[in-house]
C-alpha cells in the first residue's frame, strides 16, 4: 500500500517536473536528452562536491585556526 502511494507520489512529482521545465511538450527522445544532460550535471556537481568540499573545508579550517593562533600570539605580545 505504502509502495503504491510512494509510486503515485513519485509519478506526480515527475509530472510536475515535466510541466515546470516545459519538457512535457517535447518528444520522447528530446525528453531523454534533457533528462540525461540534467542528470549528468547533477551527478557531476554531487561528485565534485563530494570530492572537493571536504578538502576545502579542511583547508579553510586550517587557515582560520592559523589566523586565530597568530592573532592570539600578537595580542600576547
Amino acid at each position: 500500500m505504502d509502495v503504491k502511494n510512494l509510486c503515485d507520489y513519485l509519478g506526480w512529482l515527475y509530472y510536475q517536473y515535466l510541466l515546470i521545465t516545459g519538457i512535457y511538450v517535447l518528444e520522447p527522445w528530446e525528453k531523454s536528452i534533457f533528462n540525461t544532460v540534467l542528470f549528468t550535471m547533477v551527478a557531476m556537481v554531487v561528485y565534485t562536491s563530494y570530492v572537493f568540499v571536504p578538502i576545502h573545508v579542511r583547508l579553510a579550517l586550517e587557515f582560520f585556526s592559523g589566523l586565530f593562533r597568530s592573532h592570539l600570539s600578537i595580542s600576547a605580545n
Binding site: G22, I23, Y24, V25, L26, F34
Partner: protein, 565 residues
C-alpha cells in the same frame, strides 16, 4: 492594508501595467508593479477608481483585479521558455543539416540570397513551440456550439504535424469557450425557426452589395431595430464584424488625425487605425492618466513638426477586452472626451448583449447616455448568435458611412437568415416578442458570471478582469501547462480555449472561459469541479489572496460599500 493600497493607487503608477507598445515590446516583461510591490500575505485587490472625484462618475463599485504574477512563477515560466527555445534551436539545426526532414515552409534554394521570409521570432515560435501543443486549437466540432457540443476526435502520429480523424465523436462536451453569452447559438427555438423561414423566403446568398441589388427589406428592418436597441439616431449593419472595424475607421480618420488606441485593443481596431493613415498613439490599458496625458500633449503640441492642430482626435476603446476580461472605464473616458473635445469610438464586440441590466452593453452597464458616444460599434457574432457587425450613431455619421465605407460599398450584404436571427434575438432581448425570455437570459448570464468567478476565485486561481465580465481569463503562465490544461479538460469532457503568445504577453498564457446564459448550474458545477481537479493536478492555484482573514474581508467589503453611494 486596503487604505494603503488605495493611497498607492493615487500616484497612478502602481496599478499600471508596463507600457507595451504594439510591437514585440509587449512580450517578455513581468508587470512592473509585481516586482516592487511585494507585500506580505495577501495582496489587496487593485481597485482603481475609488480615487477622488472619479468615484462620482460611477453608479456602482468598479472592481477589477489583475493579481500580479508571483515572482517564482514568472522565473519558472521564463526558464520553461528558455528550455523550449534551446530545443527549438536544436531542431532547427537538425533541419538545417537535413538530419531531420523539414516539414514547414522554407525558402527555396533559388531564393537563398533574398531577404529571409521565415526567420523571425514568430516563425520560430510557430515551428518549435506552437506545433507541439497544436492539438488544443482548431479542433473540428460537429454540432451547434451551444452549452454542449460534439467534438470530432482526432489523433496524431507525428507529434501534431498532421492529424487523422478516428471517426468517433466526443458527445456532449461542455462548451466553455464560445462567445455565446446569451445562449442564442441554438438550432431550435424561435430564432432558429424564424431564420429557417427567412431562408425559405429569401435564400441564403444575396450576391450583391447594399448599393446594388443586395439591399433587402430585412436589412432596413434590422438597422432600424439596432438603432432603437442602442438608443441612437441611426445605425448600419455589416456582414462581417472584423471588417466593421478595420474598414470603417479608415473612412472616419485620415492623415492629420490622431488616433488614441488602448494598448490591448483588438487586431481589427489596430488594423483599421493603421489603414486610416492617421497618427496612432497608444495609451496604457484602461489607464485614464495615460489617456489624459496623451490628449493633453496632443492639444498642446499639435502635429509633429508643423505644430498645426490635429484635424480630429479619435479615442478607440473596447467595451470588454476579450483577453483580460476588463471593462472600459467609460464614464471617465466620456468625461475626458468632453473635456478635450475628442471623438469616441466604442467597440462593443463582447459587451453588447452581455452587459447591463437591459443588455445594451457597456453604455447600459454604466448608465451613461448613448449620445455621449460618437461611434457605437458592435458585433452580432457573440450575444446574438449570428454574424456581422453594426455601427450606430448620429444620422449624419451613418449617412456618411453608407457612401464612404469600404465594407458598405464593396462587400456583399448580410445573408437574410443571419439578419433574421439578429432581429429575432434582439427583439427577444428587448422583450418585444411578448416574453420575458430575454430578461431571464440576461439575469441568468449575470448570475452565472458572478457564480463562476466567485467559485474560481475561492478555489485560488488567479483570474483577471472585472467581476461583472462574462469573459473569465484564468492564468496558466507556463508553456507546458497550456497544452496540459487543454488536454486534461477535454479528457474530462469540457471544451475550453487556451491562449498563449502572440495573443497575450509571452509569460501570461491563460485559459479563457466564456460564461453563457445557456449554462445550467449543473454544467457550471461540473466544469468547476473539473477545473479544480485539473488545477490541483497542474498546480495552477497560484493566488495568494484567497484566504482573507475575517476582519480583512469585512474591511474589504466595507471599503467597497462606502463607494457604492
Amino acid at each position: 492594508m486596503i487604505e494603503n493600497s488605495a493611497s498607492k493607487l493615487l500616484n497612478g503608477d502602481t496599478c499600471l501595467r508596463t507600457s507595451n507598445g504594439k510591437k514585440s515590446g509587449r512580450n517578455g516583461f513581468v508587470k512592473k508593479h509585481c516586482l516592487h510591490q511585494q507585500q506580505k500575505c495577501h495582496r489587496p485587490k487593485e481597485v482603481s477608481h475609488i480615487v477622488g472625484h472619479n468615484a462620482v462618475l460611477y453608479n456602482k463599485p468598479f472592481v477589477e483585479s489583475f493579481e500580479e504574477t508571483p515572482l517564482l512563477v514568472a522565473v519558472l515560466t521564463y526558464m520553461g521558455y528558455g528550455i523550449l527555445t534551446l530545443f527549438g534551436y536544436l531542431r532547427d539545426f537538425l533541419r538545417h543539416w537535413k538530419i531531420e526532414k523539414c516539414r514547414v515552409a522554407s525558402e527555396r534554394d533559388e531564393q537563398k540570397d533574398f531577404v529571409p521570409l521565415y526567420q523571425d521570432f514568430e516563425n520560430f515560435y510557430t515551428r518549435n513551440l506552437y506545433m507541439r501543443i497544436r492539438d488544443n486549437w482548431n479542433r473540428p466540432i460537429c454540432s451547434v456550439p451551444g452549452a454542449k457540443m460534439d467534438v470530432v476526435e482526432r489523433v496524431t502520429h507525428d507529434y501534431n504535424w498532421t492529424f487523422e480523424h478516428t471517426g468517433t465523436v466526443l458527445k456532449n462536451v461542455i462548451n466553455m469557450g464560445s462567445y455565446n453569452y446569451l445562449g442564442f447559438a441554438e438550432n431550435t427555438g424561435p430564432c432558429a425557426d424564424s431564420a429557417a423561414e427567412a431562408t425559405v423566403k429569401y435564400g441564403v446568398g444575396v450576391s450583391g452589395t447594399r448599393h446594388e441589388i443586395g439591399n433587402l427589406d430585412k436589412h432596413e428592418e434590422l438597422e432600424k431595430l439596432v438603432a432603437r436597441f442602442l438608443g441612437v439616431e441611426s445605425s448600419m449593419a455589416f456582414g462581417m464584424g472584423f471588417a466593421t472595424n478595420s474598414m470603417n475607421i479608415p473612412s472616419l480618420a485620415g492623415k492629420g488625425c490622431l488616433t488614441l488606441s488602448d494598448e490591448l485593443n483588438h487586431a481589427s481596431l489596430v488594423l483599421g487605425a493603421r489603414l486610416s493613415g492617421s497618427t496612432i498613439r497608444v495609451f496604457k490599458h484602461n489607464n485614464m492618466q495615460s489617456l489624459e496625458k496623451l490628449l493633453r500633449d496632443a492639444i498642446v503640441h499639435g502635429q509633429p513638426r508643423t505644430h498645426r492642430p490635429w484635424k480630429k482626435i479619435v479615442i478607440l476603446v473596447e467595451g470588454i477586452y476579450s483577453m483580460e476580461g476588463s471593462i472600459v472605464r467609460l464614464p471617465e473616458v466620456i468625461a475626458l472626451k468632453k473635456k478635450y473635445k475628442a471623438y469616441l469610438y466604442l467597440d462593443e464586440a463582447h459587451s453588447i448583449g452581455a452587459l447591463g441590466p437591459r443588455g445594451r452593453g457597456v453604455v447600459d452597464y454604466f448608465g451613461v447616455d448613448p449620445h455621449d458616444v460618437d461611434i457605437m460599434m458592435g458585433t452580432f457574432t457573440k450575444s446574438f448568435g449570428a454574424s456581422g457587425g453594426y455601427i450606430g450613431g448620429k444620422k449624419e455619421l451613418i449617412d456618411y458611412l453608407r457612401t464612404h465605407s469600404h465594407s458598405a460599398i464593396y462587400a456583399t450584404s448580410m445573408s437574410p437568415p443571419v439578419a433574421q436571427q439578429i432581429i429575432t434575438s434582439m427583439k427577444c432581448i428587448m422583450g418585444e416578442d411578448g416574453t420575458t425570455l430575454g430578461q431571464e437570459r440576461l439575469r441568468q448570464l449575470s448570475e452565472n458570471t458572478t457564480y463562476f468567478r466567485r467559485r474560481l476565485h475561492e478555489m485560488g486561481f488567479i483570474i483577471y478582469g472585472n467581476e461583472n465580465s462574462p469573459v473569465v481569463p484564468l492564468m496558466l503562465y507556463m508553456p507546458a501547462k497550456i497544452g496540459a490544461f487543454g488536454r486534461e479538460m477535454l479528457k474530462r469532457n469540457i471544451g475550453i480555449v487556451v491562449v498563449g503568445f502572440p495573443a497575450t504577453p509571452i509569460i501570461e498564457s491563460r485559459a479563457r472561459f466564456c460564461v453563457s446564459a445557456a449554462h445550467t448550474k449543473d454544467m457550471l458545477d461540473t466544469a468547476l469541479n473539473a477545473i479544480s481537479e485539473v488545477g490541483d493536478l497542474l498546480q495552477l492555484k497560484y493566488s495568494r489572496r484567497t484566504r482573507l482573514s475575517d476582519d480583512e474581508e469585512a474591511d474589504h467589503l466595507s471599503y467597497l460599500v462606502s463607494y457604492e453611494d
